[in-house]
């Protein structure tokens, strides 16, 4: 088992939630300092190296130039530093008690994988669908072929890597959880098809605690069914959509993501730093956010021992996700070809995603219950609720704006109303 997965497994057995930042700096010294701070903070943490946007698109010359000229990069230029330097960095700061994951966001990451394998990187993440459809214009079949080769490379490394699917985070917000769960499982099956045996499945916090609990339970159930013999765990992301503007609202949203992780038995949490909504957070802010999450996780676990955990909703999410997976797998001999055909036929269709290989016939809304649901199914085998009164009011530009800011409004309300009251008094 890769040491990344081993660390998570050991923490879970001890009842501890593993917390992880998003963090990447251009300079080696700063990256080293950042990883050391995460390692040293009072939390059960793993490290992150997030790559810069030049490196993500394969423009390594620009990354090298920025390094030479001392210009600030928005992440770590893996190839510009080279495998030797990265190996030295990891040897220095990483170890069995502090594994590190490289995060990149590239639809065609083969060169990145070659360098990661050469540098002995523990773990990375992404997926043929989740790093292709939302961010650019690379055709899905091309991304799928590239990711197949990446997976085989990672599986064949001297120390096989741990790979995480990003499929449970599509577009960050306004994607109904049944589709997030289905994509997460399908990408994990794709990785397994190409030789990987240590995989994590992602899911991003959405807008309703009960629905998120139902989704995470479905994800675990379907992972167990479809990944026999695979070492797997679940990774939750703190809400990735429009974030609250007030500090108290931000912390409450992060706190709710920690509680969601603990109540759902999730093993690892990618924590958002409250400052992140506005700028790249400082090293100290990252460490503080991890310590905050760790403290909330311990408290939530203690609460669970006394009171009952909040119940998941019962909306048929498991059945819908299972149907989506089944309908997809029928369409190809391999998971990769099935995914490509499913998107071509609209059997999988991410609402609001503008990529040419996404049918774009499905639409989603935050309904009158405050939950994500379908307003247009497109070609997908999903259910539109009969009782959904929200369905009858059309999706307008105004309503889209309101839905995008749903969590921002909800979590900022307390502080904003509080200040109104204070100023009135």
């Amino acid at each position: 088992m890769p040491r990344f997965a081993h660390f998570v497994r050991t923490a879970a057995a001890a009842g501890r939630l593993v917390v992880q930042p998003r963090m990447g700096f251009g300079e080696l010294a700063r990256m080293r300092a950042g990883l050391s701070a995460v390692r040293g903070c009072r939390a059960t943490s793993v490290g992150t190296i997030t790559l810069d946007s030049y490196t993500r698109v394969g423009d390594h010359a620009s990354a090298r130039r920025a390094l030479r000229e001392g210009a600030e990069l928005n992440g770590f230029p893996l190839l510009a530093h080279g495998a030797g330097a990265v190996r030295d960095l990891l040897r220095e700061v990483s170890g069995p008690d502090f594994p590190v994951q490289v995060r990149h966001g590239s639809p065609l990451p083969l060169d990145l994988f070659r360098t990661m394998v050469a540098a002995g990187v523990d773990a990375t993440e992404g997926g043929p669908v989740s790093y292709c459809l939302p961010y650019g214009r690379v055709p899905l079949p091309e991304a799928t072929d590239n990711w197949a080769r990446c997976s085989e490379l990672a599986a064949g490394a001297p120390d096989p890597m741990h790979l995480e699917t990003f499929g449970g985070c599509m577009l960050g917000q306004l994607c109904p959880p049944s589709l997030l769960v289905a994509l997460s499982v399908l990408e994990a099956m794709f990785f397994h098809d190409h030789g990987l045996n240590s995989i994590s499945l992602s899911y991003a916090q959405q807008v309703h605690l009960g629905q998120d609990l139902e989704a995470l339970a479905a994800l675990r159930r379907l992972a167990a069914e479809h990944l026999p013999g695979v070492d797997w765990h679940v990774t939750l992301y703190t809400y990735m959509g429009v974030f609250p503007r007030t500090p108290i609202g931000s912390y409450r949203l992060v706190e709710d993501s920690v509680r969601l992780a603990v109540h759902s038995g999730t093993e690892r949490l990618i924590v958002k730093t409250p400052a992140e909504a506005r700028r790249i957070p400082a090293i100290e802010e990252n460490a503080e956010a991890l310590e905050f999450a760790d403290a909330v996780a311990r408290q939530a676990a203690a609460d669970c021992a006394v009171t009952k955990c909040p119940p998941p909703t019962d909306t048929g999410l498991l059945t819908e996700a299972r149907t989506l997976i089944g309908a997809t797998l029928e369409l190809g001999r391999t998971v990769g070809s099935a995914l490509v055909t499913a998107f071509a036929r609209g059997v999988l269709d991410v609402p609001f995603c503008l990529h040419r290989d996404n049918a774009g016939a499905a639409r989603a809304v935050i309904d009158e219950r405050g939950m994500l649901s379908w307003s247009k199914a497109g070609g997908m085998p999903v259910t539109i609720r009969d009782t959904d009164t929200a369905r009858t009011s059309p999706l307008t530009a105004d309503r889209l704006t309101t839905m995008l800011a749903y969590n921002e409004r909800r979590y900022d309300r307390e502080d904003l109303v509080g200040s109104l009251l204070r100023s009135a008094a």
Partner: protein, 139 residues
């Protein structure tokens, strides 16, 4: 990306038919989408990454040099620059051939959108009933 979804809904609400070219289309893709039978009544460019003043300038120059596309109505809007209020930026874009510029770097988003709404309303009587529009961010 959400800016493009928003614009599509907004345009559809005012009765237009929209072809959405999605994020970061290459200049050639945008130009090909505007030719022949597919020719739209208006090309709408939306950009929020602060490079609009560069990317927009490059694309409009290419469009205006092309005889088939020289007269196509083209507008650009969003966060066009990184420096905040810069009237010079909008002036340069207009001089290069944009029919209108809606620069959020200069004024609040609400006012920019209202100005875009006024522009559309002024356009409607002249244009034919069928009026496909294209939203996209050039790269």
């Amino acid at each position: 990306m959400w800016n493009l979804v928003y614009l599509q809904l907004l345009l559809e609400e005012s009765g237009h038919e929209v072809t959405n070219l999605g994020v970061c289309p290459p200049d050639g893709t945008v130009m090909d989408a505007c030719r022949g039978a597919d020719r739209p009544d208006l090309l709408v460019l939306s950009t929020v990454n602060g490079h609009g003043h560069l990317d927009g300038l490059r694309l409009i120059r290419a469009l205006r040099r092309d005889p088939e596309l020289a007269a196509l109505p083209v507008v650009i809007g969003g966060k066009l620059g990184v420096r905040g209020a810069d009237a010079e930026e909008s002036r340069r874009l207009l001089d290069a051939g944009f029919d209108a510029v809606f620069n959020e770097s200069e004024q609040p988003a609400g006012r920019t959108l209202a100005a875009f709404g006024d522009y559309l309303a002024g356009l409607a009587p002249a244009a034919a009933a069928r009026e496909p529009l294209v939203a996209g961010v050039p790269r």
